[in-house]
Assembly symmetry: C2
Homo-oligomer: 202 residues x 2
DNA sequence: GTCTATAGCCTGATAGAC
DNA sequence: GTCTATCAGGCTATAGAC
């Protein structure tokens, strides 16, 4: 009696290698700009073999996005309504900036997708992302009503954190071209922390 | 005796239509994702006719970028060393935000290019853009030394203005998905002005 | 499971009639 | 100047041997 085998070690390793290679290529060239040849070469597989593990180019991209979305939003989920407001927000900012430093490809993958109109994740943005942001915005509003942080537009506050931190991943080449030898991640954390302390001090 | 004719009215109109169509298509899909078919259709020309006006896809893209770069940096150039520091900076922020509202395609054209490593304008970033930013950073440093605005990292201050304002063009779909019916440009200006007043007040 | 070979489509660009 | 027709090359995806 045959039964469905769990993934072999080789299969697990190949799937992981493909997603790793795909992250490299999709984040650097966008969906349309990426080719299966590039991904296969980066994963050390032949192109047909790559398509043995994933049925299509779209499937690889979808698997990547789906797998990363949770990771991407974890720092915002971690914002604790019971914590000390300013410290919670500064911790969120710090985590997001660390993600720009440590996971720039992931940031650029989403940037590519969203700049081009988010054709593949628009539904997720309008449902899951909106729900999460609305929920956290209510937390922020509560803190503001209690006088624990300054009163500002909660959604724009969250947008500002996204834009200020992700800028250092998405526009990395521009930042480095302008800064020259200075490492942006040496000086950015202090600047951004100062910004939010001044903005949010009640 | 024949002489070189200046561009006819039709030629001027067609070149303009091509660049307009190309801005639409390149900003929405990136360089690689855009096709000459799409551009030709949007410009109401046949593909060969399109290539009568521009020798190649690259040439269209280059013409677009070159023509827009000046417009794009004008607001920063307008930052007046002799002006009132906080007002000059707020005026810059305001202009940049207006450009995100009124010229979102231009913003996304540059965003696509830079997120993917700026393969076509890296040299310009390292020379012209860096020079301009360094020059204006010196103006900011002077204002800080004179105690006219708060002391922060001048380059990161400029990056923050770029990221906060361009976010509303480049990530427009995400912003609107999260905000729902509310128009981001109704509430963003006040939020961002508050942010910079608090950050920069000496 | 992995390969070679290739189908079939779309792309950027050109030729040549009008 | 603008068109129809078309080419060569690159693309995703599949067939079939091993």
């Amino acid at each position: 009696m045959t039964r469905t085998r769990p993934e072999t070690r080789i299969q697990a390793r190949n799937r992981a290698a493909i997603l790793e290679a795909a992250l490299d290529v999709f984040s650097a060239h966008g969906f349309r700009g990426a080719t299966l040849d590039q991904i296969a070469a980066a994963a050390n597989l032949s192109k047909p073999n790559l398509l043995y593990y994933f049925p299509s180019k779209d499937a690889i991209h979808d698997a990547l996005l789906a797998g990363l979305l949770d990771t991407w939003l974890d720092p915002l989920r971690a914002l604790d309504p019971e914590g000390e407001p300013l410290e919670e927000l500064l911790a969120y900012v710090r985590r997001k900036l660390e993600m720009s430093r440590d996971l720039p490809r992931e940031s650029r993958l989403f940037a590519n997708e969203i700049v081009q109109g988010a054709p593949r994740i628009h539904a997720t943005l309008s449902s899951d992302l909106k729900s999460l942001v609305d929920e956290k915005a209510r937390v922020l509003t509560g803190w503001m009503a209690a006088g624990r942080i300054a009163r500002v537009h909660p959604h724009h506050l969250i947008f500002s954190i996204w834009s200020l931190t992700q800028h250092y991943a998405d526009f990395d080449v521009q930042v480095r071209a302008v800064l020259g030898d200075e490492d942006p991640f040496d000086s950015a954390p202090a600047f951004i922390e100062t910004l939010y302390r001044k903005l949010l001090s009640p």
